[in-house]
Symmetry: C2
Subunit: 368 residues, 2 copies
């Protein structure tokens, strides 16, 4: 299969949800991170996700997003047909979103394999990504729930991990392994052990699975959800009354962990420059030399470099048109937006979420 060919029968599902509160104030409730060009790449994360997937699946794509974001998604992806965007009336976490996509796709193509790839992740190695997806599809066609497991580059505590099991020895999927177990986000010592052992991969939440297989696995623990999802898929007018009754649950808990325990999950390990841009520390490490402010080796700018004037300073600055002047400050994260300014450090970047929570508690939701 060449690099430009579509992968037979593969449908890309793009869950475009999540508030990205740890990336406030760039990411907002009404304008979440997938709609933004966080990395200065010239395209939003959603659009970059489309660009990455189009060579693999052509028009076989389904974006599942919140009703509040449907117009923005369609505006950023005008090449998608009417049926390629599904709007959830309310957020129900990842299982209902991906499950609904599966129920819709099995009606369009009973042999459909879906690959679920979040709208707000970054992958820099598209060749490696295609290779991993191709292997995953081979395994999915054999009835596996397949996850792409990222080879860790550092002892991250912000991701869940996957413990590798036996080689599967399947032709066309030479790197495929059994998943022994999904494990929760570790503390840093545990993360170091995982990294040193070489037996763990990051759980990036990328799943490749037959649409009908996914619903079958879901049905083992949540048969009522499968019924609900198939009801909506067969008659979209039922969305309004059925969707609110569906359990809010992540695909990891609903399907991946129980299926792993039953020995039905495979993993294709991959080193593909993946990141979920969980916070500003993560975003800072993603920015390349292009973002470095001329004459200031340690200072990276998102936005216009002419907005920043600095003396002896380093860190990450996101601008929005106002001048930002820095003197003698080190390793700061500065995010300047029209109505809110954030100043923190990479080490404290996770706590941005608490600012959003406090603003919400204080009734200042217009700022969240």
């Amino acid at each position: 299969m060449s690099e430009s060919e579509h992968i037979d029968g593969l449908w890309a599902v793009i869950p475009a949800g999540g508030a990205g509160t740890r990336l406030w104030p760039m990411s907002r409730r009404h304008s979440p991170k997938f709609l933004h060009d966080l990395t200065g790449s010239g395209q939003s994360l959603l659009r970059a996700t489309w660009s990455r997937l189009e060579p693999l699946v052509g028009e076989r794509m389904l974006v599942v997003t919140g009703a509040a974001h449907e117009d923005a998604v369609r505006a950023q992806l005008p090449m998608l047909g009417r049926d390629a965007v599904v709007a959830e009336p309310s957020p129900r976490d990842s299982m209902p979103a991906i499950g609904l996509a599966a129920a819709i796709l099995e009606r369009r193509d009973p042999e459909a394999v879906l690959g679920s790839f979040a709208a707000d992740h970054v992958i820099t190695d598209t060749v490696g990504f295609r290779r991993a997806v191709e292997e995953s599809v081979v395994l999915a066609r054999r009835g596996e729930l397949v996850t792409i497991g990222i080879v860790p580059t550092h002892p991250a505590t912000g991701f869940g991990y996957i413990r590798l099991g036996a080689d599967l020895g399947v032709a066309g999927a030479p790197t495929g392994r059994r998943v022994d177990e999904f494990v929760e986000k570790p503390d840093v010592d545990t993360a170091r052990r995982y990294l040193e052992s070489g037996e763990y991969r990051w759980n990036a939440g990328m799943f490749v699975v037959g649409a009908t297989t996914l619903l079958e696995l879901l049905g083992q623990e949540h048969p009522e959800m499968v019924t609900s999802l198939r009801t909506i898929a067969s008659d979209p007018r039922r969305m309004r009354d059925v969707w609110p009754t569906i359990t809010k649950i992540a695909i990891d808990h609903a399907v991946a962990e129980p299926a792993a325990a039953a020995g039905r999950v495979a993993v294709v390990p991959a080193s593909i420059g993946w990141d979920d841009i969980g916070d500003y520390a993560s975003l800072g490490t993603l920015l390349g030399d292009d973002a470095v402010l001329a004459g200031h080796p340690g200072l990276r700018v998102i936005g216009s470099p002419s907005d920043v004037v600095a003396i002896d300073s380093c860190g990450l600055v996101a601008t929005s048109g106002r001048l930002v002047a820095l003197i003698g400050v080190e390793n700061l994260v500065v995010v300047d937006t029209q109505d809110a300014l954030l100043i923190t450090t990479p080490a404290r970047a996770q706590e941005v979420k608490q600012i959003v929570q406090q603003l919400t508690r204080d009734g200042r939701v217009e700022l969240t």
Copy 2:
């Protein structure tokens, strides 16, 4: 003399000039620091200067400012008569400004004693200030050029110093001393020696002197300037053609230093909570407990406290209506204005001037 009585024959001269570039972006070329309420006191520095002087001199006041600021000065001090504000066509430093005031005042009152007090300084002890001015006036009536010398509270390197000479032993001015010498801003070791010796006072640029005495002293080194200033005072229409020919020079160099060398300068030492608010480090130390953000002992806010949300942070934040969120940052100076944001530390606060210089070099004068 009671605390509410005016001091006979004393005229307050208020030089309202200087760009305050080290307080950028609060202070701007077109809106210098004396027009701002930097300390959150509820009145601008200029207005606070008026409030401090009015009990001493009543309506005997003269503000000398740049033509560009005349309207703003009159708007902030509407109680002043038309003749109480003099506009310089171009900046010529402090000697021509105060000298012109002297030339104007000697025509109004040949016995006039003028006290020159900058529009952008802070004095917290008004009782001590009155006492120092009263003693100074006694000495000025004897023909002295009198300066009020501030008792140093720390080894400041940002001020010039005054070396004390012999007690003058003048009735009505018990603390008056001869000035042996004015010395330039010292390095920190020298400043420490000055502080320990007890024989030095800060030169706060506050002079009390007979109007005619000042012109006589000025005439010894700059007779042509005296002629020019008296020409303008007698016919204000000559301002336009004469002012541009006047030498640009500070009163310290033009008069105070030569007069000290000639043994004609007296000093009245005073501890009056004086500060020239030279930079944000200085401003930070001036803000009292009122400015502390509730629940954040080390964090002081200029502007609305509700504009700041913080976790584990300390420093100084000046807001202008946008939300400022701080997480885990220590000892920062953050100044947020409509079109420019400054982030620095107290230790680097002097370098704000360099940012303004760079913006000027880059042709971005609209931001300066």
